[in-house]
């Protein structure tokens, strides 16, 4: 099975619904170790993505790449905060490497790798800093492992599962990047909100593929 532009659209609508539903949860995480706006930021950004997808007049989205580019520019211009340019760059870089119609397993690996690379190129965080990188980095590794024989959905599933574990693993970490870093040792004990939203995003990608 391969993943097409329709999947990418479903992925984004599902993400919008998930971010809206998780608005309070993400905000509460960010309230504890940041400034309490991550849920609001993500909800605002993905609601804008969904509404642009609803808008017939919006540029073509016949390929996964076109959808992802639309997502990138929308997030970039509506999210703000640290997560806006990070997710924006992630989708922009992902769009660059998915320039064919459908994604197979290798295509998904390329997408996840490019997204993760986009985030580290902008944010210069490394695993262990307690940021969304702690979800993206294991996702990349898991995707790469799963690609060895796995189809697109299997790769996605592996990436999402690793991202969820990675996010959970941020709980005991002491943040050294982003707003949570100001807390020093007090940042331990709370999951990183951006890592959590990353895990949600990849889970939505799986769900969107499953609902195919």
């Amino acid at each position: 099975m391969t993943l097409d532009a329709a999947w990418a659209e479903r992925w984004m609508r599902r993400s919008a619904a998930d971010m809206h539903a998780a608005r309070e949860e993400l905000t509460e995480l960010d309230r504890r170790i940041g400034d309490g706006d991550h849920g609001v930021n993500m909800d605002r950004g993905f609601a804008a993505v969904a509404s642009r997808l609803d808008d017939e007049a919006v540029p073509p989205r016949e390929t996964v790449a076109q959808v992802l580019r639309l997502v990138a520019t929308t997030l970039m211009s509506t999210v703000g905060g640290a997560s806006g340019p990070l997710y924006g760059t992630a989708f922009l870089h992902a769009a660059r490497v998915t320039n064919r119609a459908d994604l197979d397993g290798a295509g998904v690996v390329a997408l996840v790798e490019a997204a993760a690379e986009g985030i580290t190129s902008r944010g210069r965080a490394v695993p262990g800093d307690k940021t969304m990188v702690d979800a993206w980095a294991p996702a990349v590794e898991a995707a790469e492992r799963a690609a060895d024989g796995g189809d697109a959905v299997e790769v996605l599933r592996a990436a999402a599962a690793a991202a969820a574990d990675g996010a959970a693993a941020t709980v005991p970490m002491i943040a050294t990047k982003g707003r949570a870093s100001y807390l020093g040792p007090r940042s331990a004990g709370t999951e990183d909100p951006g890592a959590r939203s990353t895990a949600m995003l990849l889970a939505a990608a799986v769900a969107a593929a499953g609902a195919d």
Binding site: T27, R31, G34, D35, G36, D37, V40, N41, D43, R44, A47, A48, M76, S77, T78, V79, G80, G81, A82, S83, G84, P85, L86, G88, T89, R122, G123, A175, T176, K177, G178, R179, S181, Y182, L183, G184, R186
Partner: protein, 345 residues
């Protein structure tokens, strides 16, 4: 994104704020701001930014700043003659987006280039970085200076670095004066950098504040404690301590500032005592008096002063103390005329 009625109702009741739709708080406030200061400033939408009325000044360096809303009058209240040419407001406590930054920079460029004053928060840094790249691509000469005056962040090696707080006002005022007298982009950037290197701030929160679309306080502070070293978004500081006297609290702010500045004595300084939004003016002057005593005891001459709520965190009760070590040129640029909604002399 729209809030359903129940959200709004609940939010209002819990928060007690003078707002309509909390999600539209920034836009509604800017609409009022534009009307109240028509002729002095203009508010542009899609993307949103605020600029001086009258168009770009040809041949003069322009100054742009911005950041999350909720810190007013910073930055929008400092747009005007002798200070900012444009300000880019984000959502409440959320950095603005790159398209806003790019549009503002392009709108104010008078051909001599644009200096962006950026507070050191990951979000502001990333969004300005991208926005300035976009503006540069469109042919504007840009430079930027990062303000990181908050000494509360001790170990900047293992954090996102020191935050930009009330010292930003001094950077914007002084760089604005340098731009107004006709300095080149490089020279204005250097002056701004000189202010950054010589200004330090430390703040305290007595109460938390509530971001409208969040609807509950940004942190929890026990009834009998204060947060020393608070950031302007309610980021935690160095430690919590029991509420003490103004003398004790002021000392807890001034000491780390002086420790970091390490003055040799005899320096002339600007002392800025800044309210966080919900602090009565009388308390600011009490703190000012105590801070001044402490500085003078260390052999510093308080040559310039500013007391007021300029870099705020919504309705937070608290105060920050900033010290800028002056030299003749910085004092002269500080004294230069300024005419903005929030600062005029």
């Amino acid at each position: 994104m729209s809030f359903d009625h129940e959200d709004v109702e609940k939010g209002c009741v819990a928060m007690k704020k003078l707002l309509d739709d909390p999600a539209e708080a920034v836009v509604d406030a800017l609409r009022g701001f534009a009307l109240a200061h028509a002729g002095e400033i203009e508010v542009r939408r899609d993307p949103t930014y605020v600029l001086r009325a009258g168009g770009p000044a040809a041949g003069r360096v322009a100054l742009v700043s911005g950041g999350g809303s909720g810190h007013e009058p910073l930055h929008v209240g400092f747009v005007g003659a002798g200070m900012l040419d444009a300000a880019v407001p984000g959502e409440m406590f959320t950095s603005p987006t790159p398209d806003q930054v790019a549009a503002a920079v392009q709108a104010v460029d008078g051909g001599a280039g644009v200096l962006a004053v950026v507070k050191n928060y990951t979000g502001d840094v990333l969004n300005f970085e991208t926005g300035l790249e976009l503006a540069q691509d469109s042919g504007v000469q840009v430079a930027s200076v990062l303000v990181d005056d908050d000494v509360a962040v001790e170990d900047s090696q293992f954090t996102a670095g020191r935050r930009g707080v009330a010292g930003t006002l001094a950077v914007e005022k002084i760089a604005g004066a340098a731009a107004a007298r006709g300095d080149s982009l490089g020279a204005v950037a250097q002056i701004a950098q000189r202010v950054v290197s010589r200004v330090r701030t430390m703040g305290v929160a007595l109460t938390a504040c509530t971001v409208p679309h969040v609807g509950r306080p940004s942190f929890d502070l026990p009834e009998d404690e204060v947060e020393i070293g608070i950031g302007i978004h309610g980021e935690p500081g160095r430690h919590r301590q029991a509420v003490g006297s103004a003398r004790e609290i002021t000392a807890a702010l001034v000491e780390p500032v002086l420790e970091d500045l390490a003055p040799s004595g005899g320096e002339r300084v600007l002392l800025l005592v800044n309210g966080m939004g919900g602090t009565p003016q009388s308390e600011l002057y009490v703190v000012y008096g105590r801070a001044r005593e402490l500085l003078e005891a260390r052999g510093l001459e308080v040559a310039r002063s500013l007391v007021g709520s300029y870099v705020t965190s919504l309705e937070m009760q608290g105060v920050s103390v900033s010290v800028l070590v002056l030299d003749d040129e910085l004092a002269e640029l500080w004294d230069a005329p300024v005419r903005t909604p929030a600062l005029t002399w």
